[in-house]
Each structure stands twice: as C-alpha cells, then as structure tokens.
C-alpha cells in the first residue's frame, strides 16, 4: 500500500513539474518537505496538490480521503512536513476506512 501511495504522490509531483520553471526534485522524495520552512508548495499550491493526491487515492483505492482535515491539522507533526509523513497519514486513513486489503 505504501508503494501505491508513494506512486500517487510522485505522479502528482511529476504532473506539476511539467509546468514549473523550477522543478521539484523527486530524489530522496520521502524526505521532501511539502509545506512550511523549506517546503516546495506555497499555501494555494498545496491546496491544489492535496486535491490531486486525494483524487489519485480515490481512483486507486476507491476510498474518499480528506487530507487537509481537522485530524491532519491537529497532529503534532504536520503530515505536510514531509512526503514520508503524508504517506503514513494516508495509509492510516485508508486503514481506518477499511481499505487495508486493497
């Protein structure tokens, strides 16, 4: 599942890179900071990126997840601080939604 989620995220970044002047590096992608100090997205771009990942997750697992949720906001370490944390957050959301066997 982790690999599937990671692929969705990398695909979303690759799509964004087609229009970016300064490409987002996907080397060491798990440590890539998405938002905050050294983050690759500014606020509005993050909103769009999360929508794209949500859609990818829905297509892949047939489960609707909300990434900018109250739960995401309340976590001590933001799921947007790195791709690794976002993958873990999505994995947990899918597990709770019963999509673990997908």
């Amino acid at each position: 599942m982790k690999d599937q989620i990671l692929k969705i995220i990398i695909d979303a970044i690759d799509d964004i890179n087609t229009m970016r002047e300064e490409k987002i590096s996907t080397e060491n992608v798990l440590d890539l900071c998405l938002y905050g100090n050294d983050g690759v997205f500014e606020s509005m771009y993050l909103v769009a990126f999360l929508s794209q990942v949500e859609e990818g997750v829905e297509d892949e697992f047939e489960v609707e997840v909300t990434l900018a949720s109250e739960k995401a906001v309340s976590l001590r370490v933001s799921p947007f601080s790195s791709v690794r944390r976002l993958v873990a957050f999505i994995e947990e959301e899918l597990r709770l939604a019963g999509a673990g066997a997908a």
């Binding site: 229009m19 970016r20 905050g36 983050g39 500014e42 771009y45 769009a48 929508s51 900018a68």
Partner: protein, 571 residues
Amino acid sequence: MARSKVSIIGGGPAGSVAALTLNKLGHDVAIYERARFPRYRLGESLLPGTMSILSRLGLQEKIEAQNYVRKPSATFLWGQDQAPWTFSFAAPKVAPWVYDHAVQVKREEFDQLLLEEAKSRGVTVLEEATVTDVDLSRPDGVSVTVRRGKETTTYESDFVIDAGGSGGPLVRKLGARKYDEFYKNFAVWSYFRKEDPFKGDLKGTTYSITFEDGWVWMIPIKDDLYSVGLVVDRSKSAEVREMGSDEFYRSTLAKCTQATDLLAGAEQVDEVRIVHDWSYDTDVFSADRYFLCGDAACFTDPLFSQGVHLASQSAVSAAAAIDRITHHEEERDTVHAWYNRTYRAAYEQYHEFLASFYTFASFTEPDSEFWRKRRITESDDDRLSRKQWFDKLVGNGQDESAPSVADFRDRAATMISIGKHQRPELSDDFCEEELNPARVRWISDLTKRLNRITRLQWTGDKVLLKPHYRVEPLSFRLEQREILANQDGLDLAQYSMDDEVRQVFQDLAEEEFGYKTLVNRLGSVGRQELSTQIVLRLMEAGLLTGYDKTGERVVVQGRLHFGGVGVEYEV
C-alpha cells in the same frame, strides 16, 4: 532592430530601473536627474519582488556586496493588546526569480548603486540637471528642456518617462493628480543607534506598531541604525507648529510604548525630519509618448514598504511598453491600456490591503482622529468612490450571502491570525516555524469550503479568450497572451490561458460542475498547481460563483494579496 530614444526624468529607483530595462532591450536612454548623487531619501525597506527585478537585470552580485540588512518579513504590533503578527516572505522557489527575502537599505547608497550601474551600461546620466519643461505637442516625438547651471538645453526623444518623484515636472504640467481623502498623513522621523535586539527569525524585520495617534515604523539598517518614524494624521500639524518638530517627535514617540521598549537605551543620532505623506494617484498613467512611473504617478501610505516596488514594477512595465510600441506601433493604444490597467490594479491592491488593516486596528485603538478617519464601516463611504475594489465589494453586497463591507475587518483579521505569534510580546523565541499550524488550519478551512462547492456558475454564457500582455520575466519583452473573459467584459488578467483551458470553462458554463471536477479538469490541461488559485481569482473577478448541495452560495475568502511578495510577481 527598431530602437527608440527615451528621456527619463529622475534618477531614483524608478528612473534607474526603467533605464536599465530599456538599455537591456536595446534602446537609447538618457536620465536627467535634478540632484547630485548620493542624496538622502526616505523609504529604506524593500520587498522581495524588487530583489527579483534587480536580480533579473543582473544586479544581484552588486547588491549582495553591499551587505544590506536582510529583511525576512514585516512584523506588526497592530492594534492595542494584540499579539505580534509577522508577514513572512518565506516562499518556495517555484521559479528561479522568486525571492524569499528583501533588504533594508540606505537609500542614498542604494539609489546611487542603481544609477551608477545604468551609467556603466551606457545610459547617459546628467546629474544636477533640472527638467523645466516637457513638450508633448509633436506627434512624432517629445522635447525635454533641461537646465544645468546657467545653461538650458532642449533634448529630443521618441518617448519620455516621468520618474521624477512626487514633484515630477510632467505630472505637474498635466495637472492630473488626485489626492486620496483616506490617507492624509504626515511622517516625522529620525535615526537611532541600536543593535538589532533580536538574533533569531525577527532579525532584520520591519516593525509597524500602532498607538493612539497613528503608527510607528522601525527599520533596522546598516551600521546598527534604526529608522524610526511616526505616521500621524495631518490634523497634528498644528501641534508640530506649536511645539517644533523635535519636541513633537519626542513626545509623540513616547506615547508608543511598544516602540520605546524596543528602543530602550538607544541614542538618537540624526535630526528630526518631516514630510507630508498624502496618498495620491493620477487619472492617466500613460498616453501617446509619455509614461509616469513611481511616485510621479502615485503614492500610497507606506505601511507595507511598497514604494520602491511600485516604482520598480512600473518602471519595468513602462520600459517593456515602450519597447513593444517601438516594434508594433499599431498596438500603441492597447499597450497604453494595459499599462494603465495593470499599474492601477497594483496600486489599488495596496489600498485594499491598507484599508482593511486600518479598519481592523481602528476598532482596537483608543478613539482618536487618526483611527476614526481610517475606519470603513459604511458602504456609501464616498472617500472610496474612485476605488474599483471597493465598488466590487459594495456592489456584491446586494447579495446577502456575498462578501460585504461588514466583512471588511475580518479580512485583515484572517490574515493576522495566520501570522500571529504564540507569545503575546516580541521575543527571540519566535520562529517562523511556529506559524505553520495556523497556516495549515487556514488551508484546511479553505479546502473544506472549496470542497463544499458542488456547483460552480460562470457569469454569462460565453467563455472567451481575450488578448492581453505580459512582461516576460527574463527577456523583459512585453508579449501578447490571452486571458479568460466573458462577453460582458469581466476577465482574469493574472494568468495566460489557452483554448484547452477555455474549453474547460466553457464546459463548466454549460454543465455547472463542482470544484473538485473543475480542479481535476484543469489538471488534465496542465494547470494542476495553479488550479485553486485560478478558481479563487475567478471568484474575486466576479466570473465564478460557487454553491453547495443545498443551493446556498459558498463565499470563499481568498487572501488579501499585493504585488512584490509570494511566488507570483506582476513583472
């Protein structure tokens, strides 16, 4: 290659940046500057967008060599008993020209650096050269009369740029200046010797601190100097006459205890200076063979340190416009229309921001003439009758669920909440990282609101592509592009669009699908990253309206934005 001869009045940032841009574009430029540089100027605090322009003009290394104070943010102690609020310039580098900081400069050094650079690149620079007349009557060119000492000479050129500041000779001759009833201030300032009290993320920030009679700026500049100025209502001028400027400055600054706390132990090392600080603009920013740039065209209250940026931005735009007209004479009118529109929009954005912030603070400070005059509570406030953004706000007020003047204060409050410090006072414990939870919460709220939109309605039936222009960030050429519009003339000028995007919105106009579907379809035509921003801007432009599944309108409060910060620059 066609080449124009351009006369520029004034060698400040607007004049020098216009000259550097025109020189880069291959034109023949002369600057006529009244003073001999270096000369003193106020306005030490810059914005990242100015750094970006100068860097693209090839000045990055020279600016870095000056060791200016790095400015990472602007910090506001805005409103009585409010926690400090920081507007951070941190921005992801989505393009090579995006800057995450600005600098604080001594303007006499900075302005001279720009002018010397123009000179070294072949621009003719005449100092102590006062322009006494500009003749625009000939259809094939302009004449500029210049006095140097006892000699008076008339120079011919194809175009003239008035970058001569608030006393610009052309704008005076045109008689086109309109003062703004909202911001009739004056500023009184001096300099203090004081090491920056902070070593962490506040180091280098500009402070703006409200008190009962107005607000105070504190700008750290080189050599442990702080520029410290008061912005007060013009009604205080009688007190200045009575007390003298030194005593007025001392006694008024003493009322702003948060500023005096920061200055504790600091020594005042310069004289007290005073200047009228009345906001103004001009009916027309350009026409025929002339362009007005910087303070010659307009000036706004300095709260957001936007002066040099508006000057630089307008200078690049004027230079690019002259270049375009030189090569495409047939586009003269549309190029002028573009210049006037984009410059006015940039100016008005600051006004909207200012009005919102002043209104917010006016409800927290003790009642005083300064704050009463700067509060907006009525939709028929005729001081704002010339402001397009206010018309839009008030016009929308006819729809009960739409934004209205009543929401005005909240817009600033939302922005402030995103940057609010965790401690109620300034502290070196502050770090920009602590702002992230509030930002993420705001992103979450925005996302929830957008996701509620199950039906988006396009205003009108037709989605059109309309010709517009854009300054290419690296070449500085003004290029034609297309933007989205409807048949009634509403449009979205910020983003270049193509027929694929137009078709997505035409489908939306016919099918009225929701936000998520729109974002998905914009993604399929290569607009993934910008999709949310496009939706919000279209809503602001009055081209899109969102409704939830019950049919209720969903009002999405976008960010208050202005040029020179963030990741999207106008030039």
